[in-house]
């Protein structure tokens, strides 16, 4: 099974975040590069999903779905930036 990219995990990640997290940008702890999650490389298998930095291959995140539980680890991201709605005062 060849890898896909972060677009493919919009559905599973909707269990963890109340907005579309694939447009959020994350900073890789390995190389410091900053990119939208949609640009990350994604390796899926029956055991779970591994999200890797497209620049240096560091593991950014892992998640596992099993029955009534879902688990996510964000070991390779030192910061996440989310675009907010402009303040309406």
């Amino acid at each position: 099974m060849e890898h896909v990219d972060g677009n493919a995990i919009a559905g599973p990640l909707a269990e963890f975040f109340a907005f579309d997290v694939t447009t959020a940008t994350g900073r890789c702890t390995g190389c410091g590069s900053i990119a939208e999650l949609a640009r990350a490389m994604v390796y899926r298998s029956g055991a779970g999903t591994v999200v890797r930095c497209a620049t240096c291959d560091t593991v950014l995140a892992t998640f596992v779905e099993s029955g009534d539980r879902a688990w996510i680890g964000l070991s390779g991201m030192s910061a996440i930036e989310v675009r907010r709605a402009p303040s309406t005062g």
Binding site: E2, V4, D5, G6, N7, A14, D20
Partner: protein, 264 residues
């Protein structure tokens, strides 16, 4: 919650993610027909569907009587507020979901769908985004589905942004949306369509069948100097080859958006 508050919250949500909120929905197959020898077009009537942006996808979940379930992602060929959602599904020989959707599903069947999903690989008219740079779409095989949605949305909005689609496909029989694409070329907001045949060409085609080369790609896309926004969708190998070449031609990597659907 009062109506006023609800609409304020919805407006806030729209500003944050600029696409409708996703959720699980019951879908009824409204119509199904052959798109190509290896693919079917499915029109789904999705209860409570909030509409979707051009380029988004949804997840389809099939559940067997013993509880085993399989979920796969499919790009949406339609966009806008309609609760009728169009998919075009390619049959993967060892797939768990696509053979059912391509060969077995009938009008009236029910499916579970999760969506609309993904706010990265989307296009909206310049009137909404303020971005009027030209747009280059590059499709490999069934990767044309979300790009067709963008081209159709462009025509529907009568958007003045120059639009060009480079579509790499095995044979003339494998072209998805062939009638619609011809129609879009004649629309008032026209689409420039370039086809590349990898296995068999139509009679009299000027170039022999084969994978697109670096030189042919450079000749068939909007030049980097025009600062186009580029959307590339197809198999992982196709997308990575094309995206690397584009960056080599001088395209800004931040203006190249990619969606990989895996092997094949």
């Amino acid at each position: 919650m009062s109506d006023a508050t609800t609409s304020q919250v919805m407006a806030l949500g729209a500003a944050v993610e600029s696409v409708p909120r996703s959720g699980w929905h019951a879908a009824t197959v409204g119509a199904v027909h052959r798109e190509t020898p290896n693919a079917s077009r499915l029109e789904l009537d999705v209860e409570g569907w909030p509409g979707n942006a051009a380029g988004q996808h949804l997840d389809v979940r099939l559940t067997a009587p013993d509880g085993y379930s399989a979920t796969r992602s499919y790009s949406i060929a339609s966009s806008g507020a309609s609760t009728r959602v169009v998919l075009a599904v390619d049959k993967l020989p060892d797939g768990e979901v696509s053979p059912y959707l391509v060969d077995d599903v009938r009008a009236g069947d029910m499916l579970e769908v999760h969506g609309p999903l993904g706010a990265f690989f989307v296009w909206a008219p310049a009137a909404e985004t303020g971005d009027d740079r030209p747009v280059q779409l590059i499709a490999g095989g069934s990767g044309v589905v979300p790009l067709f949605a963008m081209a159709q949305a462009h025509a529907d909005a009568d958007d003045p942004t120059p639009f060009r689609l480079l579509y790499s496909v095995r044979t003339p029989d494998d072209v998805y949306f062939s009638e619609e694409l011809r129609g879009l070329s004649d629309a008032s907001a026209p689409l420039r369509l370039d086809l590349v045949y990898t296995r068999r060409t139509p009679d009299g085609w000027p170039t022999p069948a084969g994978r697109i080369t670096r030189e042919a790609l450079e000749a068939a896309v909007i030049p980097a100097a025009d600062r186009p926004r580029v959307y590339v969708c197809g198999s992982t190998g196709f997308v990575e080859r094309v995206a690397d070449w584009l960056v080599g031609f001088g395209h800004d990597p931040r203006s190249v958006r990619t969606e990989r659907y895996g092997g094949m």
